[in-house]
């Protein structure tokens, strides 16, 4: 079994289709294959996101089930203290809280920030590391963008669901900056260097790490806020939390924790001070330098809804505009492709067929990534333009198939009647065949538009603040998907149901017309 599992992991790795999925699958196979050994002590299942990378949790590229990083070392330290075997469970960073609450793992350790919301919703360990929120700007702008106040009217990026994002939302109101949230901590910096954003606010560990790989930006020395990393456990797991705290205290006292952080080059002067305060029994506030009392997590569900509803409605408008524009473009391109495939020569037909098959045969998510990040070195498309173009180019392939089918469905007699009357082929297409095909295509087109409306949620990966992205932020800040999910679903339905009704009416009308 484990041989097969290993081979499977190797194959997945070789394919490099989705390193993350491969990692997740590899781990689950590993877990199931090892559960056969009944004598081994019960596993200490801890959750982290290997996509976060070093120095937190990093997967070995050739062996995705082997991870390293200071959070890995801390998990090992805790497991050792508990006389258990650490088992890594791969969980997407933004889902760790929910996964812990669900019981997918006992503890989450992945550079998770201490916040009042986490303290309220989950059991949190002692803060084991202190970080500073720092501002990164392009080196050329280092003199003019020193603080958030300097960035009025400019785009500032960060990772979604973090204290940094809350700080940026506050700065949006207070200083007129434009806050942008990413789903990872790599692209904010690459987009900073490309000029898509003008600053990045993230903690110093992430910023320092990124600067080792990307040049062209400077980390400002000022501290925007101070925060801490903690482990998170389910609220019912307080005894395990207390045991973990005891192990952490011992490790602070005997220098084990220092050795771990030194090993990963993240030890600095702030850490001994934090450890001294904790060992003295002082209470450490989750965040210093930023008032978190106004954050969504501390609001009631009703208040949170009231606060977020305008943003959700604005995001719905973005979704609608994006959908209408990309559909219009998709229809125009689709008509050209269909015409080319029906009337074109062998070469044109082959090229267009290849395009359609490429677009239909590869994931739209991949196409969006290539369009936004892949070709950024050559053409730097703004996020909205990339989203619009990506959806349009993908849907054009599907629309072209509808039109091609519709063009072929117009009876030959209609075309021949046009020829005997002296109409040219172009006139037959524009006056006879096209209009008739359009009627046939109308109902499937409307159905496709409803599909596009929902697929537009995919462009949230390009930082476009459409409905799904806004909902995600709402849910992350609220710590629950129930209300945001319900509101989001209601808004999508409010947009798609009328369209579906139009589609079925068109279909009925056409059926009545042809029978």
């Amino acid at each position: 079994m484990s041989q097969i599992a290993k081979r499977f992991i190797q194959l997945l790795n070789a394919a490099r289709a989705r390193p993350l999925a491969a990692a997740g699958l590899g781990i689950s196979l590993f877990v199931s294959s090892s559960s056969a050994f009944a004598q081994t002590p019960p596993d200490f299942r801890w959750a982290g996101d290997a996509e976060g990378g070093a120095p937190f949790v990093e997967a070995d590229p050739s062996r995705p089930d082997v991870v390293s990083g200071f959070d890995v070392d801390i998990a090992a330290l805790l497991a050792r203290g508990l006389h258990r075997t650490p088992r890594f469970v791969m969980i997407t960073f933004s889902s760790i809280d929910q996964s812990i609450a669900r019981g997918d793992a006992e503890i989450g350790l992945s550079g998770i920030e201490d916040t009042p919301a986490r303290r309220a919703a989950l059991s949190t360990t002692l803060p084991y590391y202190e970080f500073r929120e720092v501002l990164s700007v392009r080196t050329a702008d280092a003199a003019r963008f020193r603080t958030l106040e300097d960035l009025r009217g400019h785009k500032v990026a960060t990772l979604s669901g973090t204290i940094a994002y809350e700080i940026l939302l506050r700065a949006e109101r207070d200083h007129g900056i434009d806050a942008l949230s990413y789903d990872d901590d790599v692209h904010p910096y690459s987009d900073l260097v490309l000029g898509r954003v003008d600053a990045v606010l993230l903690d110093n560990v992430l910023a320092d790490r990124r600067r080792r790989f990307i040049s062209g930006f400077t980390i400002q020395p000022g501290t925007v806020a101070v925060g801490h990393y903690v482990g998170v456990l389910s609220p019912a797991n307080a005894p395990l939390r207390d045991a973990c705290n005891e192990i952490l205290r011992t490790a602070m006292r005997d220098g084990t924790l220092e050795r771990i952080f030194r090993r990963w080059n993240v030890w600095n002067d702030e850490q001994p001070k934090l450890h001294a305060r904790l060992l003295a029994g002082d209470q450490v506030a989750p965040v210093v330098g930023f008032d978190t009392s106004g954050s969504t997590a501390s609001l009631s569900a009703v208040d949170a809804t009231r606060r977020y509803l305008p943003a959700l409605l604005r995001a719905s408008v973005i979704t609608l505009i994006l959908s209408f524009l990309s559909m219009a473009l998709a229809v125009a391109i689709g008509v050209l492709i269909a015409t080319g495939r029906v009337y074109g020569g062998r070469t044109i037909r082959a090229v267009l067929t290849a395009y359609v098959e490429l677009m239909r045969g590869t994931p739209i998510l991949l196409q969006l990534f290539v369009l936004y990040y892949g070709i950024a070195a050559a053409i730097r498309l703004p996020a909205f333009a990339a989203a619009l173009l990506g959806l349009a180019l993908n849907y054009a392939a599907y629309e072209s198939e509808i039109y091609r089918g519709a063009l072929h469905a117009v009876p030959n007699g209609q075309l021949e009647a046009g020829r005997t009357l002296g109409l040219s082929e172009v006139q037959i297409l524009t006056l006879v065949r096209g209009p008739q095909a359009f009627r046939l295509a109308l109902a499937p087109m409307t159905n496709d538009f409803v599909a596009l409306l929902k697929d537009s949620s995919l462009v949230s990966v390009l930082t476009v603040m459409e409905l799904t992205k806004q909902t995600q932020i709402f849910a992350t800040n609220l710590g629950s998907w129930v209300i945001p999910g319900t509101l989001c679903a209601a808004l999508y339905l409010a947009m798609s149901l009328p369209l579906a009704a139009v589609a079925s009416r068109l279909e009925r009308r056409w059926k009545a017309a042809t029978s």
């Binding site: 007699g413 021949e416 020829r419 009357l421 006056l431 006879v432």
Partner: protein, 209 residues
Amino acid sequence: MTAPVLDVRDVRLRRGTREILRGVTFTAGRGEIVVILGPSGSGKTTILRAIAGLDRHDSGRIAVEGGRAGMVFQFHCLFEHLSALENVCLAPVHAHGVRKDAAIARGRELLAAFGVEHRAGALPRELSGGEAQRVAIARALAVDPHVLLLDEPTASLDPDRRAELGALLLDLARQGRTLVVATHDEDFARLCASRTLRLADGVLGVVQA
């Protein structure tokens, strides 16, 4: 004697390995109604399609006075998305540069001449078989062809309507139009033909009246 309006000389046409027309020759003069008789599948429609320029013939020559022959298809083939009047006006406006108001006036005239002016605004699917045929004839005549081809025009008509159609075609011939009618309806041929030809084995023979 004046030159024929339609001159078909030794036309051969094969589809795949099958030779459908094996040297078809005939002429039609001004004001003449030539009826081509033959069972279905004998190639009557193919002759009309070759004359209309829809099917390319392999050898021989076809000369049509005025360039292009008008065609009335067996199933009319009216443009489904346009009204009767729009069907009649489409080609004059777009292919022959007739001004729109002039084309509409002439279209109404043609529909009136065939007794379907009250159906001007109707879509093809709303017309009866006889009405659709008249609109199709009007549409073909709207671009003034010297030769009008009709494929199985009596296929969907009851006896009364068939007699009316015969009268209508005779009328057109009297106005100087040359008509070629492909049909398997011998009674209809007797009703209106100035000359009847019989198609068999891909060649035409003259039918003695």
